[in-house]
């Protein structure tokens, strides 16, 4: 046959029946799937400030690292993405290699948290967790791993308190917010964020989720669910799918003032590059980041384009800078099979060389 299509009516009917068979199998699978839970690793609460909780994660063996590793995740999603399930857990991988892993859980802000600022998140909560660990371990400085927006927070913190951060790892962290391929940035640049926050107060999680889904609306809302049919006869694959769905749609509202400042200073002002990021009463200069930095970014990241992360190299003050370019996307960097092998090992090796 000529033309772009090469199928007969019989082949098409066969395809349709296969689809029907999958749907039929799905009726059983969807009833059998367990209520998907997340979090593969045992953890314990070690510190708390309001809704913000610091957890220590427990591996099968005692950690061999002498310096704790604190993970600071983004505010916009829940941090259990790094410990989603036993075979998809960066945390598990780090623990298995001897790291002593802590994660700060920002909680779910409510209307009483509307006036939390970036200063509260960075100095009070992140700083409080860092100080707790420094004190608990009798150390001047600890290792900090910031992810996405949590990476931007970690950069601010490291610049404001360089003596408290021994080694800094940034993962899929936006630094230059004005790269031409940054869709989110394009969308908020003309937005009157004062009007937005004054009107909404906290920014609803559902609105944020909708916004993220609109970055790739056809892939994330159509193709993904057609793809679900392919795995409907596989209970485990369906559970994995539903666990990911749960993570995607389980998002906290955003504290209004912190959102206002983040959009203005980072997305609109591009403050890491242009200057002008002020946390509390202090301005952030990435030139103050002189500790070793490992910067990990994802080559197919549609939320934080690689160039947005790679800009860090030219802005920090230190010379000990390492990059890991990961072949995958913003989510795959935590949950893909390749990530389980590559990411914890790279972080561990890099830290070990600087211990």
């Amino acid at each position: 046959m000529t033309g772009p299509l090469d199928f007969t009516p019989q082949a098409l009917a066969r395809e349709a029946m296969e689809l029907q068979a999958k749907l039929g199998a799905g009726l059983g699978t969807l009833r059998e799937v367990d209520d998907v839970d997340y979090g593969a690793t045992e953890k314990e609460e070690v510190w708390r400030d309001g809704k913000v909780v610091l957890y220590r994660y427990r591996g099968d063996a005692r950690p061999t690292a002498k310096v704790p590793l604190l993970i600071s995740y983004a505010l916009v999603n829940r941090p259990y993405m790094v410990d989603l399930q036993a075979d998809r857990s960066i945390v598990k991988g780090l623990l298995a290699r001897g790291e002593d892993v802590y994660i700060i859980d920002w909680g779910y802000p409510d209307r009483s948290d509307r006036y939390l600022t970036l200063e509260d998140y960075i100095e009070r909560f992140l700083g409080g967790a860092v100080d707790h660990l420094r004190k608990a371990f009798g150390l001047d400085a600890i290792n900090l791993l910031g992810i996405c927006q949590g990476g931007a927070f970690s950069l601010c913190y490291a610049a404001l308190h360089p003596g408290k951060v021994r080694n800094l790892v940034t993962m899929v962290t936006p630094v230059d917010f004005h790269t031409p391929d940054n869709m989110l940035s394009n969308w908020v640049r003309e937005m009157d964020v004062d009007l937005f926050v004054d009107t909404l107060g906290n920014v609803p999680a559902d609105l944020m989720n909708h916004c993220y889904l609109m970055l790739k609306p056809f892939r994330l809302n159509l193709q993904k669910y057609v793809g679900l049919v392919d795995i409907l006869d596989d209970k485990r694959a369906v559970e994995d799918f539903l666990r990911m769905e749960k993570w995607i749609f389980d998002s906290p509202d955003q504290a209004g003032e912190a959102f206002r400042q983040f959009i203005k200073q980072f997305y609109q002002g591009n403050g890491f590059v242009n200057g002008g990021i002020v946390i509390g009463e202090r301005e952030v200069h990435l030139g103050l980041v002189e500790m070793p930095v490992l910067n990990i970014f994802a080559e197919q990241d549609h939320l934080v384009p690689p160039d947005a992360s790679k800009a860090l190299k030219g802005l920090i003050g230190g010379d000990d800078y390492t990059e890991l370019s990961f072949r995958g996307g913003h989510i795959g960097i935590y949950v893909s099979g390749r990530a389980q092998v590559q990411v914890p090992q790279t972080i561990h090796d890099w830290l070990a060389r600087r211990s």
Binding site: G3, F7, L27, L30, R48, P162, R189, L195, I248
Partner: protein, 361 residues
């Protein structure tokens, strides 16, 4: 609760679906159906399937709903398109034109319609609020249309002006929304072009599409590409920003009316509650700052934290480095001090403190 109907009904329906296919093929009329929702029985089968599938875990139900909301119709449409061209020699232009016709039959501008339907547990766009508020807004508009441009005076002057502003905000929002929809229409037209060009690339032997699913995936690629071109454009930035801003002005207008009504009824308003929350946040912040400054003052004889710095210079690496070096010392010194103990008393309860060991998973 799980749906108690067995899968037998679904299997019967699947047989029916298969028979419909068989009939269509025997008649040689695969492709002749113009049912907007797909090939024979697809819609019925999926509706039935959704009913049966619904009733599992809540996460599973949500996924079924999301599938139902969009994917089934679009995929059904694509099956229909594939059926029309199965076994025929058709060029890229013919297929793309037929796809355009099929989508045109569903609605003039299907992209915004699709985006509006992207909602459910965990995701709501801007337009949901407008839809919810529409009955009330319509009443205001009907009431206000006649006096929208009239000068306000007399005892109800402020009330009238407020309502005039609200009615104006509604009109403004509608205009901005129309501009956004126009951009989406542009994205749609571009998507048809990209689809045709991607189809043309597949005319080469060895690169042909072998299934309805492959055709669907190609359309998804085309739609994403066209949409991304628009969504990354300066034009979109302006139009989208204006849309969001217009909706926020409209919401503010409604909120003002609610506040007004609450005040008249002696109920606490959102503004009052916010003011209380603001005071608490500021007090906690002031306390934390004092607590952080205390050890630095005691240890270094100076209460100044690492200096509020002058406004940023353009951050070339050299400039940043030199700024860094100047400020690094005091910051490091301050950092080297142990963290102060948390303050005692009531306020300390809400600030950082070690937790009693609690295990969880």
């Amino acid at each position: 609760m799980a749906n108690t109907q067995g899968t037998g009904d679904f299997e019967a329906l699947a047989r029916q679906y298969w028979n419909a296919w068989g009939d269509a093929m025997r008649r040689g009329s695969v492709g002749a159906h113009t049912d907007a929702t797909g090939i024979p029985g697809w819609q019925d089968a999926i509706d039935w399937w959704s009913q049966l599938a619904h009733g599992g875990r809540s996460g599973a139900n949500a996924a079924v709903e999301r599938f139902n909301a969009q994917a089934r119709d679009w995929y059904g449409q694509m099956q229909q398109l594939a059926a029309q061209f199965a076994g025929r020699d058709a060029g890229a232009a013919d297929i793309a034109a037929e796809w355009k016709r099929a989508l045109g039959a569903v609605g003039e501008n299907p992209f915004p319609e699709m985006f509006r339907a992207l909602r459910g547990q965990g995701a709501e766009g801007l337009d949901r609020w407008v839809e919810d508020a529409t009955p009330w807004l319509e009443a205001v508009r009907r009431e206000g249309a006649s006096w929208l441009g009239l000068p306000a005076f007399g005892i109800g002057r402020e009330h009238q002006e407020r309502l005039q502003r609200l009615a104006q905000a509604q009109l403004d929002y509608q205009q901005r929304n129309a501009a956004y929809n126009a951009l989406m229409f542009k994205a749609l037209q571009r998507a048809y072009e990209v689809f045709e060009s991607k189809l043309a690339e597949r005319e080469e032997p060895g690169r042909q599409l072998a299934s309805a699913r492959a055709l669907f995936d190609l359309w998804i690629d085309a739609a994403e590409e066209a949409y991304a071109d628009i969504a990354l454009s300066p034009e979109f930035r302006e139009v989208y920003g204006a849309l969001v801003n217009a909706q926020m002005r409209l919401r503010q207008g409604v909120q003002r009316e609610v506040e007004q009504a609450c005040e008249q009824l002696g109920m606490p308003t959102r503004g009052e509650v916010d003011a209380a929350h603001r005071k608490i946040a500021e007090l906690e912040r002031a306390l934390r700052r004092m607590r952080d400054a205390a050890p630095a003052a005691a240890g270094a004889g100076s209460a100044k934290p690492a200096a509020a710095k002058p406004a940023a210079k353009p951050a070339g690496k050299q400039a940043a480095k030199s700024a860094g070096k100047q400020a690094a010392k005091p910051a490091s010194k301050q950092a080297a001090k142990p963290a102060s103990k948390v303050a005692t008393g009531r306020v300390a309860a809400s600030t950082g403190k070690p937790s009693a060991t609690r295990k969880s998973r």
